[in-house]
């Protein structure tokens, strides 16, 4: 009987110590999305794509993977550089594969959870679907979704990462897009000096910055509204047409309505000191040039927003030299240094 018990014990041990450990994939680890105290409610439906550590990690690898482009070089991070608030440093318009050029300036990636639509002209109605545009654009990444998926399927690290994030190693477009969204949704920029001041966390603004804030509220905030610094509307701000890009129509390209000609979505001004050059085609190299334009450079391009018309019918916003200087002081307080150094978003 003793031998019998011994045999049972040994066989239980043997059964217990099988290779189950190799097959064990844990459940994904939930990550909480924190809404900054001074921000509105998010627009993104997290219930359809809950944040997990594994989903975010997969999204990060995808974001920086050049395989999503036809030449293996152009990843999302190629144009969306963290140090410049995820814009394309110093580039007016961006170039994609093989130096192909588009006609739009790379926009920063921050606070995407709070937006209803995406891109300068509202060409994407949901964050998950936005990457389809750069991935399939011939002048950006020049790929097709099925072809990208086969490259991911052939890359051994992805089957493990997809399994960890989504429960099986099936690599689908839906999962790829959800993972990218999870990574991008994490990019919340809400810790600038302005935020610390706005949330009354003890940050002081200098007299110039305070003067600039008051001027900003008076002259700029009707469009660059609230803590997101945009009302998310599409407006024509009287830019002279850029003859380099006759194909540019603004939002009219998406809606078809002539009334949308040269209307662009009001961009957020967070981290604006880092995201030069400015406007949809990057035509202004610095903030001084932007304010000079608003004071004195607007033209009637056929469709200028009524908010930008003065009482005497002329176009523009009255700004003296010292007012411009103070506004720029204020705009610099919107730079979030934590955000651009946050390792969670970094390539290396």
């Amino acid at each position: 009987m003793n031998i019998f018990k011994l045999l049972i014990g040994v066989s239980v041990l043997l059964v217990g110590c099988n290779n189950a450990a190799d097959d064990y994939i844990g459940l994904p680890t939930p990550v909480n999305f924190e809404v900054p105290a001074n921000f509105p409610e998010p627009n993104y439906d997290f219930s359809a794509n809950p944040l997990t550590a594994e989903g975010i990690a997969l999204g990060k690898v995808l974001f920086y993977d050049g395989q999503l482009s036809s030449t293996g070089v152009v990843s999302c991070g190629f144009c969306h550089e963290q140090a410049f608030s995820f814009t394309h440093h110093g580039h007016t318009i961006s170039h994609g594969v093989n130096g192909e050029e588009g006609f739009r300036n790379t926009q920063p990636l921050h606070n995407l959870a709070f937006y209803k639509e995406f891109t300068w002209d509202g060409a994407a109605l949901h964050l998950d679907l936005q990457p389809i545009i750069p991935i399939t654009s011939e002048v950006e990444m020049n790929e097709t979704i099925p072809s990208v998926l086969s490259k991911l399927q052939a890359d051994p690290k992805y089957s493990y990462m997809f399994e960890a994030a989504f429960g099986s190693d099936s690599i689908t477009s839906g999962r790829m897009l959800k993972a990218l969204s999870q990574f991008m949704l994490q990019m919340v920029s809400a810790n600038s000096r302005y935020d610390a001041y706005s949330r009354e966390e003890g940050e002081q603004l200098t007299p110039e910055e305070l003067a600039g804030a008051a001027l900003f509220n008076d002259k700029c905030a009707s469009c660059h509204m609230g803590e997101l610094f945009t009302d998310q509307s599409y407006r024509n701000n009287g830019l002279p047409l850029n003859s380099n890009f006759p194909e540019e129509e603004g939002r009219m390209r998406v809606s078809g309505f002539p009334d949308d000609f040269y209307k662009f979505r009001v961009p957020s001004l967070r981290n604006v000191a880092l995201s030069y050059p400015y406007m949809h085609d990057g035509r202004f190299g610095n903030l001084e040039a932007v304010l000079d334009f608003y004071a004195d450079g607007m033209v009637d391009n056929g469709n200028v927003d009524p908010l930008l018309k003065r009482e005497d019918g002329s176009l523009g916003i009255n700004l003296s030299a010292s007012e411009k200087t103070n506004i720029i002081h204020f705009l610099k307080t919107l730079t979030d240094y934590e955000f651009i150094q946050d390792e969670r978003f970094s390539e290396f």
Binding site: D128, I133, R251
Partner: protein, 261 residues
């Protein structure tokens, strides 16, 4: 003899009971079945032949059609009593491609047994589906990409791809035309609903699979409620007036020719 009499009576009784009328209309309305919808693309009553045949459009233009594809979604079946069976949304989206015969037959399973008299469906993709993000697209994103039914510069689907070549009285040189109609972001929703009546009911049973033969008269894309002259504009992609016109024309071009039960 009495035994024989009893046996005869018994046998007669048994045979009477055994020989009931077991024809199809007595099958119970329980369980689920399958139905098939065929999308048969025609041109003014004639068969639609791609690439080779010239058709008249609006009386003044002649067109040769090279590509015809459209998205059918949100299929619902309705009974005489107004009861609706809604095909689950994620499974209810298809691309009908004239060049691919198999794609013209849509099979719908797990349909509650009933006599259906109407079919409702949408042409295109409704705004709700976009707002469901990646999860809501499922495998359809890949299908649409593979079939050239996704725009690149806008993250949206082409609801209809209608391409070919045309000549007109004042434009005798053959010119390409392409109509890609979809929704214009959130600004203009070109998704349209269609309802077709069935001339006889489609009897879905556990053992009957009705086939509903829908005919689409493609001549109505250009010559329906609204008239589109290709000479005026032969490339329609995001046109604020003509795109909705195409959508409306498309929604009215379907009839049910017959039903096989």
């Amino acid at each position: 003899m009495k035994v024989l009499n009893y046996m005869a009576i018994t046998m007669m009784a048994v045979s009477l009971v055994a020989c009931d009328n077991d024809d199809n209309t007595n099958t119970e309305l329980t369980g689920e079945g399958t139905t098939r919808i065929e999308f048969d693309n025609s041109y003014s009553g004639s068969d639609l032949l791609l690439q080779t045949t010239s058709y008249s459009a609006n009386g003044t233009e002649k067109i040769v059609i090279d590509t015809l594809k459209y998205i059918v979604s949100n299929i619902r079946l309705e009974t005489e009593d107004g009861e609706l069976y809604t095909v689950p949304k994620e499974a209810s989206i298809f691309i009908v491609n004239e060049a691919n015969e198999e794609s013209r037959f849509i099979t719908i399973e797990n349909v509650p047994a009933a006599d259906y008299v109407k079919v409702h469906y949408g042409i295109g993709v409704d705004q709700d589906k976009y707002l469901q993000g990646a999860d809501g697209q499922g495998d359809f994103l890949n299908q649409a990409t593979a079939q050239g039914m996704m725009w690149s510069w806008q993250a949206g689907y082409k609801f209809i791809r209608f391409e070919g070549r045309f000549t007109a009285e004042a434009q005798p040189e053959e010119t390409a035309f392409a109509i890609h109609m979809g929704s214009h972001g959130s600004s203009l929703d070109n998704y349209k609903e269609v309802t077709v009546d069935l001339p006889v009911s489609a009897k879905v049973r556990t053992d009957i699979t009705p086939e509903i033969h829908v005919v689409a008269d493609i001549s109505q894309l250009l010559s329906g409620e609204g008239k589109l002259y290709l000479e005026e504009k032969s490339q329609i992609h995001v046109d604020p007036d003509k795109s909705p016109m195409v959508a409306t024309n498309a929604s009215k071009m379907f009839t049910v020719d017959h039903v096989h039960n």
